[in-house]
Symmetry: C2
Subunit: 226 residues, 2 copies
């Protein structure tokens, strides 16, 4: 399947590499292709520059955000949450029309120090904002409750015996995202309901951040137990 990924960071790389490894035709989109390829320093989180990653994943195409969105039958939002609507606007509403848009981002606001708070929460969510801004896209919130390595390889923790969530207004879009998640190895997928339920998964971030500090690792998951 043709998949466009908006965002060249850790999440975009991890999901793009995994999808490419599964045989999909992946294009990652950036605001500035030349700039992304020229960068040689690590990012603020210590991750290597994109070109190092790209050299190890030559099957993944790099293009502009518009090109990546146009390329994809599925589009993945892997940008920073506080700039996602802006980035997706750059990608072009016409390139998202009628498509499934998997929103993996969290609206983390680092402007007030660490740990970050949420730029939107409680009575709204980033997932809803994106759905309102792009009413012709089928937004499905997913994967935002675990770190990037766990997103694409749930077996990294607890033998994969934990839970991932989907939120969205379109049942058939959620069914297709569920298939994609299953191809990553997710066995326990809970459909929380419409896109307003993205408030619930985005609001997991405050405890997620504190758990990362308490456990000393981002490699953990949450299992819903009955």
């Amino acid at each position: 399947m043709k998949i466009g990924i908006i965002g060249t960071g850790m999440v975009g790389q991890t999901i793009g590499g995994r999808l490419s490894g599964l045989g999909h035709d992946v294009m990652i989109g950036t605001r500035d292709v030349a700039g992304t390829l020229a960068r040689s320093e690590r990012d603020a989180f210590g991750n290597p520059p994109f070109k190092e990653w790209h050299a190890m994943h030559p099957g993944v195409k790099l293009g502009t955000m518009r090109e990546a969105a146009a390329h994809g039958e599925f589009v993945v939002n892997a940008t920073h949450g506080v700039s996602s609507v802006d980035a997706l606007t750059t990608a072009g509403a016409e390139n998202l029309r009628g498509k499934i848009l998997i929103d993996v981002a969290n609206p983390l606001d680092f402007s007030r120090g660490m740990p970050p708070s949420l730029a939107v929460s409680n009575t709204d969510s980033l997932g809803e904002r994106i759905q309102r801004a792009f009413p012709d896209a089928k937004v499905v919130k997913a994967l935002n409750t675990v770190s990037a390595p766990v997103q694409v390889n749930p077996g990294l923790v607890g033998s994969g015996d934990h839970t991932i969530f989907v939120s969205g207004n379109d049942a058939s879009a959620k069914a297709k995202v569920r298939e994609l998640l299953q191809s990553f190895g997710w066995g326990h997928v809970i459909d929380l309901g419409d896109i307003t339920t993205a408030r619930g998964t985005e609001m997991l971030l405050p405890i997620w951040l504190r758990l990362m500090a308490a456990l000393g690792t981002p490699l953990f998951g949450i299992k819903v137990v009955q």
Copy 2:
């Protein structure tokens, strides 16, 4: 141990009954003792009136909020979150001084319809508000992430193999609350850190409420998996 519980609702009853069953000397506090005993109708959630419950738990004392707080070496806040600071003020700061105050409440705001939003979140929490209002109490946030029956009997779901959290500024108070949780059957207790981490557990409520709807039961738990 002498334990005072502020709040006569489902949570206060459930925790009070369990603690009494474990041999503690429990007093539940209400604003209006005569009114609480006179009420004969079910509450808005369909729970039976207090006097029916009390008839089955004669070992639990009933008193005013002041009397219950004065009675307890431990005090449990089991009031509705939006009125907790007011209720604890009625109970009396002097009756909480130097004591461990277990805050089980969530700041659910039903004024904007269902599901409720949070009256405080993201950059503050009910746990922090209570600690600021009663600086001489040792506030420990706990048990607010599961329904009342599960709070006192974690084995009701998943054979008890799930996680409960504590947040608070006083390490020895958290250690004592951990012992109390263990006496309820909790085997996996994670200390998230200081009272600001109550933001994380209170912000679990939005996904908790949606999970209750999706699963069709309040009998579930969350297990942190590594």
